[in-house]
Each structure stands twice: as C-alpha cells, then as structure tokens.
C-alpha cells in the first residue's frame, strides 16, 4: 500500500487559494433558500435602519429639536402635542422604531439559523455521498484524521461563517455606510479625519493580523509534531510500561510541549492585542475629532455649529465600533473560506469510474438448453451482455473463471508493484498467493474487484473484460474477507447482514454456524442482538475475523477472496472452521492469501510472488518437488513476514 502522505491537518490554516470563487460556491448552496434569505436581508436592512434611526432620533431630533429648545425655554410641537408632551410623543416614535428593529432582528436570525443548519446538512450529505463514491486510492493518500476534520473543524468554521460571520458582516457594513452618510451630512471635513484615522487602524490590523497568521501557522506545525509524538508513543505505551521507560518519555514530551506552548503563546499574543488597540484608538480618534470639531465650531468654518458637532460625535462612535468588529471577524472568515475550500476539494474529487454495462443476473436454462434471465434465485448466474452495435443481448453463463493477462500496475506511477502478471483461475479452483510483505499479493486481489484499475494488460472474468462489467455487479459477484476486519455500529446480526441486506435470521445464523462464530455469538450478552460499537472493540481480532467470514458466507457469492482471513485465529480453531470453510469454498473460485502455509496447502494452484512477479506456480506437491522458493518457505528456511 502506498504510504499515506503525512499532511498537516488543515485546521486553523489561513491559506485560501481563491477566496472569491470559494465564496461564490458557498453562496450557491444558499440558492434553494433565496426567498427566505431575501426576507432576511430586508429584515437586516430594516433593522440597521431602525438602529441608525434610533441613534439619529436621539442625536438630531430628540436632543436638537426637542430638548435643546425646551431647555432654552422655547416651545416645540409634535402634531398637536406641545412641550414635554411633544417630547413624550417623539420618544414614543423611537420606542416603536426599536420594537420593530428587535422584532426584525429576531426574524432574520431565525431564518439564518434555519438556513444554516439546512445548508450544513446538505454540505455534510453531499460530502458523505461523494466520499462513499471515491476510489480507494483517495483513502490511501489522505489520512483519516484529515478527512474527519472536514466533517468536524471545517464544517464548524463554515457554520460560524454562515450563522455569525456573514450576517454580522452585512449588518456592520450597512451600519458603517449609514453612519458614514450621516457623518457626511453633518460635516464632510470631520468625516475626512475619521476616515484618515480609519486607514491608520486598518494598517495596524493588517500588520498585526499578518503576524498573528504567521505565528498560527507555526503553532499548527508544533501541534502536528506533538500529535505525531503522542500518537506513536501512546500506541506503544504498553512497551513503555514493560521497560519502565516512563520518565524518559515524559522528558521528551516536555520538550515538544514546551515548543508548542511557546509557539501558541506568540500566536495568541498577536491575536489578543488587536482588540485593546482597536478599542482605544477609537477613543483617540474621538478626542482628535472633538478638538478639531470644536475649533471648527468656534471659527464657524464649514458651517459647523455646536449642536451638529454633538451629533457628529455620537455618529463617529457608532462608526468605529462595527469597524473593530469586522477587523476581529476577518480571521474567522478566512479560516472558514480555507475550510470550505478543503470541503469542496473533497466534493470535486473524481468519483470511482464505472462505465460497465455487463450485469449479473439470475439465470436458468430453458427447455432448449439456452440461458434465460429469471427473477428468482436459481443458484445459477449469467452475465447479461448487451451489444450496442448489433442491439442484441447475450447471456454468458457465470463460471467464475478469472484471467490475468500481462497485468502491470503501480499505486503511484513511479513505482510498479505488479509486473506482467498472468494467471488463470479455472472455475471452482482455489488459487493461493504466497510471498513476503510487499510482494503484491493483496494488490492482485485489489485489482480483481477493481479497487484499483490496472495500468496495462487485461483482467477477464468469464472472458469478459472486467472494465465492461458493472462495478456493483462485479463486486456483488465476489465476497472478500480482508486482512483488517471492520465492524460497523449495529448489532452482530446487522454486521453479518452487511453481506446481504435482505438475509433472513435463519440465513444469518447458518452463516455464523458455517464460520464457527455461532458459539461465541450465543455467549455474548445479547447474542445476535449484541450491539457492536467502536469498530467492534468488544470482540477479539479472531472473533472479528469469524464474523467477517460469516459476512462473506451470507453474501453467498460466486467468487471468494480471502486475504489473511484466518491470521488471527489459532490453528486449532482454524481446524474447527476448516470444514465450514471448505463448504464455503465448494464450487466457487477462491483466491486465498495466507501467511500460514498449512492454510494454502490444498490449493489447486499456489503462486509465489516476489517483487511483483510470479516466480513459481503449481500445486503443493509440484512446488515442493521443485525445491525452489516455496520449498524454502515451507521448510522454514526462509522468513516470511
């Protein structure tokens, strides 16, 4: 297997390749909710207007038009209301505006939460759907941790962006624009000062933000290093205990831990410092505006008067607050975009190709001895081959013959794993593959069911090129018991039924009996209904292999592939299931890889692989007589690993 590329897991990375395109793509997920979002946007706008309106009312109207004149002893009127009553009236209008504003706020937030959770669900579903369709190659080159982090960290940042980042951004921008207009109306000159200060602040944000980003990358690197250390050494902790090596481990750990602490201290220092700097600089801006403004008011330059200045001061406060907020949210937005980019990368991966059109069907012979398709299970299968050119359909009886013709293959282009492999498995034959690790045994069986596609040569199944066979049918036609057996959350019988979804309880029990698993299953707390969790943590490796065999048995396929299927089962138990295994293999074409040569001794053909080539083939007796590699392996003169 090609080694997994150790990629730095993406969490917290700020690198965004094409922010605009990614952003547009995120927006495309919102298409289905256009109507709702339009309502939300209107609400947002109205809400901002209400907020600005409220501020405006206090500054321009309430203070200037009501309180000042009233305080100066003049009378004011609002409709029929005079004096204090007019003040009450205008405050009532304010109250109405505020209530409307808050209501709108609730409405748009409700919509956003609804849309966000839905969009996240869609993204998750699409990701999972695509993931299931990806070729095995993808999983070889991406670590589980990296893929998992798409579902956790990256979707989380996306949630943050959709439910907080974007709405806040929009309202903040709207507020800024609104305040800017208001300020401009009162005094273009003072507005200029505010804008100048704003530019300075933006530079500071850029500088500190950049530093912070760089240090976050450094922190990420240290996290990676520490993760690697912890993973390796916790995995080997039992060895550590046996050697009483704990103290040395602790010292090593302290080293990694100290480096991480230092890196994240710097990263967080820069990130933290931003808020107090922005906040206090806005006070400085305020003071400068006040000084310049009063100078203007005294000289009367630009038509500035005291009342206008007071309102301007109020607006300028409301102007700089949302700016500081945007500055703070920028990092979050970038992180979300980077996360979204990784998610889209998975979604955009080329799915497994399948242009096979030959399908596997149940068949029977009619009175003339011709194969015909039938719906019921007959124990006989046929390949339904539609010939486009002639527009005819032919049926080829399934016999289980598998042929490799000069097959060459490499997981990566630079390294050929199989060279010119040719072999024929006649129907019902048992073919054993023997050889040391990396010789290419597992690779061969990975090619039969098209986990990978070959680079050169041909693989034929009943004389049909396997690329013409519908992938699902190809895989349905063979059952695999793989080296690493995996269980899924569910009951024991669910896991056996994995081989055939509509298997009856009886079929499940029979399959378990065949694999000699029935006994231990009955001794589990709830028998066949015992829940398996965490990849079958509560079972031993041997028991899991028995279940995997049962899974293959219930699938009842024409071809059987056993890759080290009994490696964790002791020889005595193996002996017990031998009869069952023999029955399972009866009449099927079987490919078997086994470490233990006793397991393969009765194969019809044993292929000895070395460096991707078949160097010897024949049955046990022939190979022993040959006194070649197999003989050496068998007599234990050569080491197999």
């Amino acid at each position: 297997m090609p080694e997994k590329t150790k990629k730095q897991s993406g969490m917290g990375s700020f690198k965004v390749k094409s922010p605009v395109r990614t952003f547009r793509r995120i927006m495309s997920y919102l298409k289905d909710y256009k109507g709702l979002l339009a309502i939300a946007l209107v609400c947002m706008l109205a809400n901002v207007l209400c907020n600005i309106g409220g501020t405006f009312m206090i500054g321009m109207v309430v203070l200037k038009m009501f309180i000042f004149p009233l305080a100066a002893g003049k009378d004011v009127a609002l409709g029929a209301l005079h004096g204090i009553a007019a003040l009450g009236g205008i405050v009532g209008v304010m109250a109405a505006i505020y209530v409307v504003g808050a209501t709108l706020h609730y409405v748009y937030n409700y919509i956003i939460v609804r849309v966000t959770t839905k969009v996240l669900q869609n993204v998750r579903d699409e990701m999972f759907e695509k993931m299931e369709m990806l070729p095995i190659r993808y999983f070889d080159t991406h670590t589980h941790g990296d893929i998992m982090s798409l579902y956790t960290n990256d979707t989380d940042t996306l949630r943050e962006l959709l439910s907080n980042g974007l709405p806040n951004m929009i309202t903040n921008v709207l507020t800024i624009v609104g305040m800017f207009v208001a300020m401009l109306v009162v005094s273009p000159l003072l507005t200029l000062i505010s804008v100048a200060m704003l530019v300075i602040m933006l530079f500071i944000v850029k500088f500190i933000g950049g530093r912070s980003g760089r240090h976050f990358v450094g922190q990420q690197r240290q996290i990676g290093a520490l993760n690697g250390y912890i993973e390796e050494h916790l995995d080997g902790l039992k060895v550590v205990k046996v050697f009483c090596h704990e103290d040395a481990e602790k010292a090593d750990f302290d080293d990694f831990n100290g480096k991480l602490k230092e890196a994240s201290r710097q990263a967080h220092t820069y990130a933290n410092v931003l808020m107090p700097i922005m906040g206090n600089l806005s006070y400085v801006t305020y003071a400068i505006t006040a000084i310049v403004g009063s100078l203007l008011a005294i000289t009367g330059f630009g038509g500035m008067e005291w009342g206008g200045l007071v309102s301007f001061m109020m607006f300028s406060r409301q102007f700089s607050n949302p700016l500081a907020q945007i500055a703070q949210q920028m990092n979050g937005v970038l992180m979300a975009l980077a996360g979204a980019e990784r998610i889209f990368d998975l979604i955009d991966q080329q799915p497994e190709e399948d242009d096979g059109y030959v399908t596997l069907v149940n068949a029977k012979e009619d009175e003339n001895g011709n194969l015909v398709e039938t719906d019921e299970y007959t124990g006989m299968w046929a390949w339904k081959h539609f010939h486009k050119a002639e527009g005819t359909t032919t049926y080829v009886k399934w016999t289980g013959e598998v042929e490799f013709e000069n097959v060459t293959f490499g997981y990566v282009p630079e390294k050929t794993v199989l060279k010119n492999v040719s072999l024929v498995a006649k129907p019902g034959q048992k073919i054993a593959l023997v050889g040391s690790t990396g010789a290419g045994k597992t690779t061969i069986i990975n090619l039969i069911n098209r986990f990978y596609d070959i680079d050169d040569g041909k693989i034929r199944y009943d004389n049909i090129n396997i690329t013409k066979i519908n992938k699902a049918d190809l895989r349905h036609s063979m059952a695999m018991v793989l080296q690493d057996t995996h269980m899924f959350t569910g009951t024991v019988s669910d896991n056996i039924r994995f081989g055939k979804l509509d298997a009856t309880d009886e079929e499940v029990v029979n399959a378990a009996k065949l694999a000699n698993a029935d006994y231990f299953i009955r001794h589990l707390p709830n028998g066949y209904d015992t829940m398996l969790t965490g990849d079958g943590d509560n079972l031993s490796q041997g028991q899991r292999q028995l279940l995997a065999i049962a899974r293959a048995a219930v699938a009842n396929p024409p071809v059987l592939v056993l890759d080290e299927a009994t490696s964790s089962i002791d020889t005595r138990t193996e002996k017990l299931i031998e009869k069952g295994m023999d029955r399972l293999m009866q009449g099927r074409t079987v490919f078997i890889i086994a470490h233990r040569l006793s397991t393969v001794r009765n194969a019809d053909m044993i292929c000895v692989l070395e460096h991707g080539e078949i160097i010897e083939r024949g049955n046990h007796e022939e190979l022993i007589a040959k006194k070649g590699k197999y003989y050496q392996l068998y007599t234990g003169a050569f080491e197999l690993d």
């Binding site: 109250a95 959770t117 050697f243 107090p276 906040g279 895989r475 959350t489 995997a548």
Partner: protein
Amino acid sequence: MEEKKNKAPKAKGGLRKLASCVGEYKAAAVWTSVLVAIEVLFEVFIPLIMAQIVDVGMSDKLSVFEFVLQFGSVSIPVFSMTNRTLFIVICGVLMVAMALISLLCGALSAKLAATASTGFASNLRRKLFYKVENFSFSNLDRFNTANLVTRLTTDVTNMQNSFMMIIRILVRAPFMLILSLVMSITISPKLSIIFAVVLPVLLIGLAIGIKVIFPRFEKMLYKYDDMNESTQENLIGIRAVKAYVREDNEIRKFKKVSETVQKLQFSAEKIIVIAFPFMQILVYACIICIVFFGGKDIIASGDNPALGMTTGDLTAFLNYVMQILMSLMMVAMVFITIVMSRASMDRIVEVLDEKIDIEDDENAKDIFPENGSIDFDNVDFSYKKSADVLNLENIDLHIKSGETIGVIGGTGSAKTTLVQLIPRLYDVFDGSVKVGGVDVRDYKIENLRGAIGMVLQKNVLFSGTIKQNLLWGNPDATDEEIYHAATAAQAHDFVMSFPKGYDTDLGQGGVNVSGGQKQRLCIARALLKHPKIMILDDSTSAVDTATDASIRAGLKKEFGDTTVIIIAQRISSVEDADRIIVMNDGKIDAIGTHEELLATNDIYRDVYQSQQKGSADDGEVNENA
C-alpha cells in the same frame, strides 16, 4: 447511544482539578485580570471626559469652562479656565493620554493572557500525559489511542480558549457592568432606578433561556458524536463497504442521522436567537426611559450643570447603558463557549479521574528479585475484577529459575493473560504471584520489571535509530553488550547488512524493517536488560523456523540462567522446552514435556496434528512444519 447518556456529566470537582494546572502562571493570570480591570476603569472614565467636552466645552451658553467630576450630588472641580479652545484641547489630550495608558494595559494584559492560557494548556497537557504514562494495562484497555490523542490535543485547546475567555472577558464584563452601573448612579440616581427593574428581568430571562437551551444542546452534541462516529467507521471500513457494494445503504444511514442532527441543532439554536432581541428590547426600553425622563430633567434644569441633568450627562448615561449591554452580551457569549467546551472538560477530567490500579504498594521494599523462579499460588484473575467472569482460574504453577517453559493454547485461552501477571502488568484477583520467592506486590514496580524482559505480542519500535531503540533495555549498555544481545536474538547480522548498521533510522513505528526483523530487534532490546526472566509472547511468529531455533539456542547459550517463557502458536517453537503448559479456557489443561503431552494430552495432540497434516501425507516429511 442510550449507554452514553448515562455516563453524561460528572465534572463535579473537575474545575478544581483543572484550576490546579494554572500553577506557575497564576501570577500572569492574576495580572491579566488586574490589568483588564484597570483597562476597564479607564474605559469608564473616558466617557466622563467625553461628557465634559460635549457638555462644558461645546456649550454655547458658558463663558467659564470648569472641569467637574460629578459623583451624584458631590462635584469635584478639577480645573477651570475661560479659554474654550484650551479647555477642549486639554480635555482631548487628557482623553488621548488615558486611551494610550488603557491601550498599554490592554496590550499587556493581552500578552499576559496569552502567556497564562497557553501555559495553563501546556501544564494541563503535561498533567494528562503524565497521568496516561502512569496508566496500568487495565487502564489502557479502557481508552484507545485515538481517543487519548483527541483529549490531549483538541480538548486541551478547547480548555485553553475557555480559560483565556475567563481571565479576560469574565473579569472584564462583570467589572464593566458594575462600574457602568455605579457611574450611571452617580450621574443620576433617579434615572438608575430603571436598572433595578430591567436587570432582574434580564437575569431571569437568561436563566430560563440557559435552562431550556442546555439539554437541547447536549442532545444535539450526542447525536453529533454519533454522526462523526459513523463517518469514522466508514473511513476505516471503506474497503468492506465497497467490497459489498454497500455505499447506497451507508449514505442512506448517514443522511438519516445528518437530518436528525439538523433538527436538533435548529431546535437548540432557535432558542438562542431569541436571546439577543430580548436583550435588545430591554436595553432599548432603558434608552427610551432615559431619554424621556433625562430629557425632562434637562429641560427642567435648562441644560445647566449647576441646576441638574445636562445633555452631556445624558450622552454619558446612554454610553454606560450601551456598555452594560455589551458586557451582558459578552457574559452570555462566554457562557455559551463554556457550555460548548464542557464536553471537553468532562473528557479530560475522565482521564484525570481514572483510578490507576497498579502502583507501588506503600510498603513495597526496595529489593530486586534474587533469581528467576516464578510461583503462581492458586491465582484467579479477572479483567472485569469480578468473580463471575474469571479469565484465569485457580492457576497453581511453579517454575524454577533457569527453566525454559513453553505455553500453547488456542485464541482466548489466556496465555498472554497468564504471563502478564508476572511483571505485574495486571494484579491478581485472588491468590498470589511470586518472583524470586517474593510476592510481586512487595517489589517496587521498577525493580520488578527491570528484572523481567518481556516481548509483547503487539510490539513496537519507535522513531529513531536501531541503537536508540535497543538502548531502551539498558541506557548505559556498551556497544559490546548491544552486539552480544543482538547476536543472541539473531539480529546482529541483518543490522550490519544495512549501510548505516546500528545507526539505521527506523522511521515512525519501525516501518523500515520487516516484521521478522522487527521481532528480533524487540527480543534484542529485551535481552539488553539482562533479565532474570525472559517472556516471549508469540514474538517469533514472523521469524522463519530456522532462525526461531537459533534464537532459542542463542538464549540457552548466552542467557543460560535466565528463566524463559515462550508463548507460541507453532509447536516447533516450544517442543524442546523443559516443560510445556497447555492452556485452555483460562485453566491449565496439562503440563509436561513434548513427548508426555503428545502421549497424554488431546489438545496438544490436536494442535500438533493440525500443523503436521499434509507433510505426513505426501511423504515430504518435514520436522519443522
């Protein structure tokens, strides 16, 4: 799923445990809070100056400009002048100066907060790692590696963020709240009555909100965990999924969970979005009352500071109201973050609370095993520590120093369990295990394990060179000693065949050597301890039979007085042992030599025959097979 709900929050006392990790960063944490408080103080004073600028400096009725700090009915005149411009400039400069000091405090506190929180995280991580290092085998059986790694990384990072929030915002916000309240009261006690009405309403509202939200969030998070678990399963088992063409089925299953997550998430978050408008309404209510009643006062006083409420006061008052709102929002945000990180805290505390079941006994003696004799006296053992599920039952076994013992038995017959009791990797349930005539519990663990070389079934080499790995056995070993041990383990020759010899880098998990080579290196590593007892737990399975025999011969020759216990699947690995133990279902089925067992023991004969068949049939008799 149901199970999980039962093991829910048990974080009582967890906070105290975590707090102890602040350690040497306590000063930084305290200073952070102090500086934050000072910063807040300035932030409260600055609006006062603002008020003076607007109120006095910009008043077109005054001719003498007096800077007065007004605390309720007490007014403290600071300075006064007749030049309006100068007054505003002085106030402005004062404000800038204060802002700069506040900035300094803020920046410093930000830096200290980073120091304190990352320091706290580093201490916490160390505490966790040390704890895990001290885990016994049975503790380790309860946690898998991936699980522990998450706790040491993601969960600790979550705690770090919460801690930072606490020392910064959780000090800042309430302090700001109180100060703003105080200032509002000094400006106008009468107007402040409004808070007495609004704040209790707000608090009750929030309390109800949290009470409603919390269970919904918890439910959502559990489902979320389920979803991630099933994704993980699909990743690990992708080959099984594809081999059985189960993609559609898995997708269907995933979509169902995914939809449930969405529903639960929506049901939790739609409550949260009520919170903000709710607060907004309350604050707006305050503003409206203040503007109306404050306005009335201003009108009454003719906007004259000497007579009462002024426009400046009103502006300042409104400012404080806004700050109160902000503080409340921050507190709410912090609470949400803490609630979200509670799962992390629970998981960390679960590790810290894990009771380590094997530690040096109080009265353990600082003695070393004198010889390699081993005695099992009526030993019962249970992984579950319950008499109902005994994994070893009534084991009575006496091994003389220097003996070679073979152990044979099927999967699950408890061979490994048996030998793991010798270096006290697990404690017996009943009876006792003695090494060198002394109960293993009476030794210091380090002394006991130092005398026992054990090669585990699942053995690991670590990143580093071959030599570095071998030195685990004995850090002070000379090159001669290393060669000696490696030769006995049949590893020396192949190591020397590498271009870099003993300095060959093994890569993570020892990936650069083959399985058989790895096993031999592991044996050499254990031999370097010069152990009194050597235990090989199926540790030559990937080694060819000839080399296997050489290893046994090497052991006999070079380490003749060492007691050797060999667990094997292959009869050939044990047949020349002094005695062979046949294990079956947690009991000793028989003990004897190869010949005796062949003659008397069914299981042994079965195993023997299962490995003999074929070679006997075809005449190609091969004594090793």
